[in-house]
């Protein structure tokens, strides 16, 4: 059936929705660019505070009271010390929040991680700063902190000289049982990425050299002896961390090239023995398409087999909307009192493809069951929404954030 033009009011940048209904939108006081750290705190007085790390300076992080999800209230927004640092990632356990700091160039400060006491959410109090700056370090890109004891950190270190400047971050396990004195207890890096390694440096991706660094380093209390690591151009790794001082690889999946690299999140469906692995789209206008989210059979950890990808709407249609279009973050089934956890329902973000939900009851045939693509936010630099990250609460309310100016979208699901 041939149709000329778009048969919808508002044209190509209009909102699209299926089974997700917008119930609130907050522009975060004009600083609506959020990175990929979202987590919810349940305060001692029963409030629900959504914490978000910003995509870039000048803002560090923002706390929004979403106790009444239809009426979100901004309660705190903090600043970074200068414009060459970004926070990007945070996690919350109880009243402690870990925030990552990554600098634009090697050798700058502050680089590393802060721990905050957020028992009074309006007044976050710094407990300690874990400095990972160094001549070859840009600090930390991502924190994973869910058990109150260890932070699984993607970071450089003053003692780490990479074989390629892009490979400066690696997996570090930081003991924060004494939050005023974080201490490294173990580390792992892709063989060949550190000067002095016996292995040769790994080959660069022929088309898009994203680097060999971990992105997400996920460890779950149900399976505390495993770390699930997306290693950007190094693929997906499962590490045995039963001895935290000596992480050992037990599974590896490398599918780029021929694909375009930037493995981002490795989300395990622990009961079922599957992984959901997202790549990150890092180029505008479809330049690095396809950036997919893979369903991987991990029932035998040493033999990871991709069995499906999450179905996405036509790249031709979405690339035209502007900015990036492709996979990025997933809702990560985090522990914690307010987090949604499911072995079959998966939520992901796809930049101008919005936030999308999938039913993986049949892992060989994932079904898309809902989506929300906001209309282009005011003054959107790419001319479209660029949904960056998602967090889902235990009532299945979806919190999705824009990378540039759109802020926070709260959505109700009906599937």
């Amino acid at each position: 059936m041939a149709v000329e033009g778009t048969l919808r009011p508002g044209g190509g940048a209009a909102q699209l929705a299926l089974n997700m209904k917008l119930i609130a939108h907050h522009e975060l006081a004009g600083f609506g660019g959020v990175g990929e750290g979202i987590n919810m705190q349940k305060t001692r007085d029963g409030r629900r505070i959504l914490w978000m790390a910003h995509e870039s300076a000048p803002k560090n992080f923002t706390g929004v009271d979403v106790t009444d999800p239809r009426n979100p209230k901004l309660i705190v927004q903090t600043d970074l010390p200068h414009n060459d640092v970004r926070s990007n990632s945070l996690d919350v356990v109880g009243d402690i929040m870990a925030v990552a700091y990554q600098t634009k160039k090697w050798g700058l400060k502050p680089a590393g991680m802060d721990l905050f006491d957020i028992s009074k959410p309006e007044q976050p109090k710094l407990i300690s700063h874990f400095d990972t700056s160094g001549p070859h370090s840009r600090g930390a890109h991502c924190v994973f902190f869910v058990d109150g004891e260890y932070v699984h950190l993607t970071s450089g270190s003053p003692d780490f000289e990479p074989t390629h400047e892009k490979d400066d971050q690696f997996y570090r396990i930081i003991d924060v049982r004494n939050p005023s004195k974080p201490t490294e207890v173990g580390r792992w890096w892709y063989p060949g990425t550190r000067k002095g390694d016996s292995a040769p440096p790994p080959p660069r991706h022929p088309k898009f050299d994203g680097g060999y660094r971990p992105h997400n380093t996920n460890v779950y209390p149900q399976k505390p002896n495993r770390a699930y690591v997306g290693y950007i151009d190094g693929g997906a790794w499962i590490l045995d961390i039963s001895d935290k001082s000596k992480p050992k690889p037990v599974g590896h999946l490398q599918y780029s090239p021929p694909y375009n690299g930037f493995t981002h999140t490795v989300l395990p469906l622990i009961e079922r023995g599957y992984l959901v692995i997202s790549d990150e789209c890092v180029r505008d206008n479809g330049e690095d398409w396809p950036k997919l989210t893979w369903v991987v059979d991990a029932r035998v950890e040493s033999n990871l087999v991709p069995v499906a990808t999450l179905p996405l709407p036509s790249a031709d249609a979405f690339i035209k909307r502007g900015g990036r279009y492709g996979s990025h973050n997933l809702h990560e089934n985090l522990p914690g009192p307010c987090s949604f956890r499911s072995e079959t329902l998966i939520f992901g973000t796809f930049f101008n493809g919005g936030v999308r939900a999938y039913d993986l009851t049949n892992p060989l045939q994932p079904k898309e069951v809902g989506y929300f693509v906001p209309a282009a936010p005011k003054l959107a630099p790419k001319g479209s929404a660029q949904i960056n990250d998602v967090w889902v609460d235990e009532n299945r309310l979806v919190y999705a954030v824009d990378r540039f100016g759109g802020g926070l979208y709260t959505l109700e699901t009906s599937f």
């Binding site: 149709v3 778009t6 048969l7 149900q222 009961e271 249609a317 979405f318 909307r321 898309e368 069951v369």
Partner: protein, 354 residues
């Protein structure tokens, strides 16, 4: 820190996210287009995709048309109208893909207006059995319009109008201003004889409360009692199949079978297999809840002639009544025949098990 396991709230409801489809049928001149035009003017019906058979025939009000292309047009109330020239399956798939790509409106309902001569069964079967469509759409309601001036004659003369009435979830009587009260009462009685479980309402110039026509099908697997009753049409007194002994036309029959004890799924499917194999064309419509051994909720079954929707399990029984109830609309298949079949296959299977 304890981690909760996936619970029902963390899985998808197999029905809740599907886009409802209404089928509007009725003999030539019964007022389908008038009804659709009226419905589209209601504020709550502002995100509908209408599929009609022929542009020439539809006569969607000119004032509603905003943008037109060869086969799709946007109506100025926000709805979408497209013309069915080829295959209904293809059109429904295409609509969903275009919706997803942002090329057309985010419609939240589809209305299919069939041609007057059409047998609605194949349209219903398309929705019940196409694997791609089953993921996106659900049959909500078959609305049959009955022209009160011509229907009495048409129901005697032709088989299509009888089948249209028999398959309906809702009956809408039109043009009643042109006949007397007695004739209207006679027509209502005739419709009740053909399809006692479908509520009937009179509409003048297409004016009818949309609530009568929407949310008839099951919308979620944790359906409440009133939702199940609305779907099965159990809220009136003519459903037991015994009150129509006086009927002069026994061709179309509606009856309910009840079984108090849970049955094995094998027994149920074998009965249905035998019925569809031998009498498929005469098994106009079957819908109901089946109490299956070992299942906590009832299985929802619905079929049109020889094709059945994949069975779905409801999260729980909607009331203390846990008996199997199956509504049959048949042509010349009696209640006794079907009851005997269930008894025979039940006995055979029980014998095997022993």
């Amino acid at each position: 820190m304890t981690v909760t396991q996936a619970s029902p709230g963390t899985t998808r409801d197999a029905l809740a996210g599907l886009i409802p489809v209404s089928i509007i049928t009725g003999f030539l001149g019964s007022g389908k287009t008038t009804l659709v035009n009226r419905l589209l003017k209601r504020p709550e019906m502002n995100r509908v995709a209408v599929i009609v058979n022929e542009l020439g025939e539809i006569g969607i009000d000119n004032e509603l048309v905003q943008v037109s292309s060869e086969q799709m047009m946007l109506l100025n109330n926000g709805c979408l109208c497209c013309v069915l020239r080829g295959d209904l399956q293809e059109t429904l798939r295409d609509l969903f893909i275009k919706r997803r790509n942002g090329e057309i409106i985010d419609f939240d309902r589809v209305v299919i207006e069939t041609t007057g001569l059409a047998d609605p069964a194949p349209v219903m079967q398309t929705l019940l059995t196409d694997a791609l469509l089953l993921d996106q759409y659900r049959l909500d309601c078959v609305v049959t319009l009955v022209d009160s001036v011509n229907a009495p004659g048409q129901l005697k003369q032709f088989t299509e109008p009888v089948k249209q009435v028999a398959l309906a979830d809702r009956l809408v009587i039109t043009k009643s201003d042109l006949i007397g009260e007695k004739q209207l009462a006679a027509l209502e009685q005739r419709l009740k004889e053909i399809n006692p479980r479908a509520p009937a309402k009179v509409a003048l110039n297409g004016e009818i409360d949309p609530a009568f026509l929407v949310d008839v099908g099951l919308r979620r697997t944790n359906a409440r009692l009133e939702e199940v009753e609305r779907w099965l049409g159990t809220d009136e007194g003519h459903g037991d199949g015994h009150s129509h002994a006086h009927r002069h036309d026994e061709a179309v029959q509606t009856f309910v079978l009840r079984f108090e004890k849970p049955m094995s799924w094998t027994v149920f499917t074998q009965c249905m297999d035998v019925l569809t194999a031998l009498r498929g064309p005469d098994l106009l419509r079957v819908k109901g809840l089946v109490s299956v051994e070992g299942k906590s909720g009832p299985m929802v079954v619905q079929g049109v002639q020889h094709l059945f929707h994949p069975p779905l399990e409801l999260a729980a029984w909607p009331s203390p009544d846990h008996g199997t109830r199956l509504v049959f609309i048949t042509r010349d298949i009696s209640r006794q025949t079907v009851a005997d079949l269930f008894a025979a296959i039940g006995a055979m299977t029980a014998g095997k098990a022993a």
